[in-house]
């Protein structure tokens, strides 16, 4: 079988096997199939990667079959593997397999073990479709599919209605983005005549520009990306998505699905290079999202929510990079982020596991000595996300900041400044998290404290691997690897001498964040509580997440419901439409009732009428005779 098709089909087989046979064949079967197939997919990816090197950069292409032919339009299901696909697929299958292994420990005691792994494999299948698809159509199939898997996994413990609702919120918010995606797709097809990524990029890079505004298409597709990658204004589903099991949060809402939007823009770099307005929009939205999410993360008290907002913020950074034309750098950040964010989420899972389900960091503390492996890996990942050298996050974040400053495709001091403040906040809230969870004196209650224990090796082993990757992953210079596909944007020559100072500044920022976190949280919550009282208003605003959810409910949710109920149903259907129908039938009945009064039952009346009729017809005949 063809290699790319194999990579895609292996997790699908896992989904079917575990879904149909899993409950009957027991946990060992599910574990072997559920983890084994992703690992095999990873190995197949490595093989494809090696093949790619062998072909000197030309992409591998496989066509599975023709989906539909309508007139001049041909829609094929085809796969495409180039350097960008390689990076994405390696992350998905690699980190994905690690998270599958972790899950065997985390979900060990769950009754729906088989269902969990089948959904996880389903997700992997769709995600691979997304990044390996040659055309926007296949990408869209994967795009919606990962939305489905996300829905199923967020609402995995569906007996809790709140969790089920979180899943629904994710799906609907994604759908809004998908509407934009569809429109962009239609417009693109109309203008270019194909949905294949390579052809689209070539069309826009070529001498004759297609007869459609690249920026319009760019913005529409970006709307889809905001939905999937949780950017403003469609970011509201991600924090709620923390209702799902923690490995799900790690895989879907940190390492892979949410990066789909970044992948889409990076993949269509040929289009976006010709769309300066769209790129501008992307950069602005990216930096705003990054900033706002970081401010919210500062006051969150649930360990997973901090990480969720952190993810939104880091995704914002990736979009900043995309917005200034540094596509390879954005993908680099996807790559490093996958490592340290997955490590952080899985570490959080380990903490939650140790704390018998507690997620509130105000009730933690002093865990460093009790769960050392979790602590060390978490600390490494935290340092990575804060951008401390020589960890992975330093390299990728630093390049983003540099290009935000100096890129000739939209870089500006303002952009860089906001991004740097966000980086400061990132360091602050992440070290805050680290301190409150692990290093401050314990605030745990007796019973929980008694049960604290390190997680099994299936979990800690993965944590170690991810921590190592977070530490050394940055030395693989992904942007350089992607350069043939996505050249780095030109930077303003006049500013080049500032590169080194900016790097130093970035490191200092990270250290400042660390310092501030230690200062505020060293002894526990006391100092923080005093600050909270001093800035009560700001704290309320941030804790309330800027009340965006409430705004959406008030402006969209309730009016929709009200209009549907009051105007459409009661007024429209019942009063107007059915009312007029009943009016007509009532009219018919009343008229019939009145007319039937002619039937008086009186024989003589009938005779009279007959006689009158005869007279009338005679008179008529006499007149018209």
């Amino acid at each position: 079988m063809n290699l790319l098709t194999l990579i895609v089909v292996l997790p699908l087989a896992g989904f079917l096997l575990n879904g149909l046979l899993g409950p009957r064949l027991g946990k060992p079967f599910v574990t072997v199939v559920g983890c084994g197939l992703p690992v095999l997919a990873f190995l197949a990816t490595v093989r494809a990667f090696l093949q790619l090197d062998g072909t000197e950069g030309a992409a591998l292409v496989e066509t599975a079959y023709t989906w539909a032919v309508v007139g001049d339009f041909t829609f094929d299901i085809a796969f495409y593997f180039d350097r960008l696909s390689a990076v994405m697929t390696l992350i998905i299958t690699g980190v994905g397999s690690l998270i599958h292994v972790y899950s065997t420990g985390y979900m060990k005691d769950d009754a729906s073990y088989a269902r969990y792994f089948s959904y996880l494999n389903l997700f992997l299948f769709f995600m691979l479709l997304l990044v390996l698809g040659r055309s926007l159509l296949v990408c869209f199939v994967g795009w919606e599919g990962v939305g489905l898997a996300s829905y199923l996994l967020i609402g995995f413990w569906f007996e809790d209605m709140a969790k089920a609702q979180a899943g629904k919120k994710a799906f609907i918010t994604n759908r809004v983005g998908d509407a934009g995606f569809l429109l962009g797709m239609f417009l693109l097809y109309h203008a270019v005549g194909t949905l294949d990524f390579d052809a689209v990029n070539a069309a826009f890079s070529g001498p004759i520009a297609p007869a459609v505004s690249a920026s319009l298409v760019g913005v529409l597709l970006f709307i889809g990306a905001t939905g999937k990658s949780a950017q403003i204004p469609l970011h509201v589903w991600l924090p709620d998505a923390m209702a799902g099991p923690t490995p799900v949060s790690a895989l879907i809402h940190a390492a892979t699905m949410v990066t789909a939007g970044v992948y889409l823009v990076a993949r269509l770099n040929g289009l976006y290079l010709q769309a300066p307005e769209a790129s501008q929009v992307i950069a602005v939205i990216g930096v705003l999202t990054a900033f706002f999410a970081a401010t919210i993360a500062v006051v969150q008290t649930d360990i997973k929510k901090v990480l969720a907002y952190s993810t939104i913020s880091q995704l914002g950074f990736m979009f900043v990079a995309l917005g200034v034309g540094a596509y390879g750098v954005a993908v680099f950040h996807v790559y490093t982020h996958a490592f340290f964010k997955a490590c952080l989420f899985l570490g959080a899972g380990s903490v939650i596991h140790a704390m018998s389900g507690e997620q509130d960091i105000r009730k933690m503390g002093g865990l460093a000595k009790r769960i050392p492996i979790t602590f060390v890996t978490f600390a490494v990942a935290t340092a990575a996300i804060a951008g401390l050298p020589p960890l992975a996050g330093f390299f990728s974040k630093d390049e983003i900041l540099w290009f935000a400053f100096a890129s000739e495709r939209g870089g500006s001091t303002l952009l860089w400044a906001v991004a740097s403040v966000t980086a400061l906040l990132t360091a602050f809230y992440m070290f805050r998290l680290l301190w409150l969870t692990f290093l401050t004196p314990s605030r745990m209650d007796e019973k929980t404290a008694h049960h604290v224990h390190e997680s099994p090796f299936s979990m800690t082993g993965v944590l170690i691997v991810l921590a190592v990757l977070s530490a050394v992953g940055g030395f693989v210079h992904v942007p350089h690897f992607l350069e043939p596909l996505m050249p780095l944007p030109a930077t303003d020559h006049a500013l080049e001498h500032l590169e080194m100072p900016l790097i130093v500044l970035a490191v200092v920022t990270g250290l400042l964040g660390l310092g501030a976190a230690i200062y505020v949280y060293r002894g526990g919550l006391a100092r923080a509580e005093r600050l909270q009282q001093r800035f009560a208003g700001a704290h309320r605003l941030l804790s309330g997440k800027y009340y965006v959810d409430e705004l959406y409910e008030a402006v969209l949710g309730r009016p929709l419901h009200w209009i549907s109920e009051r105007v459409f149903l009661r007024l429209g259907d019942r009063v107007l439409i059915d009312g007029s129908l009943h009016g007509l039938t009532g009219l018919a009945q009343r008229a019939a009732g009145r007319l039937s009064r002619v039937e008086t039952g009186n024989l003589q009346f009938y005779v009279l009428l007959a006689a009158l009729g005869v007279v009338a017809s005679l008179a008529w005949m006499w007149r018209h005779g």
Partner: protein, 100 residues
Amino acid sequence: MDRTQLLLTVSIALFALGLTGVMIRRNALVMLMCMELMLNGVILSLVTFAAATATLSGAVLVFLVFVVAAAEIAIAIPIVLLLSRQRKSLDVGAYSELKG
């Protein structure tokens, strides 16, 4: 007015009287008698025309009408009889179940 016109006037008068009787009188038997009156008016007009045009067809038709009238009375009167046994009344207004 000549003889034909006079006879026709008489026959119309008979017919009209009969019709009026049917419309006004409520007694079933009287209504039947008035219907006979109407028939007689028609018969008279038939005979008149037969005499006026000196053909026989009108007169022959009279016999047909006689027979039909007799048959009709033969059926109508027993019906009225049976109905009146039911309702104990010859008033036509008593039989109005088919109204509305």
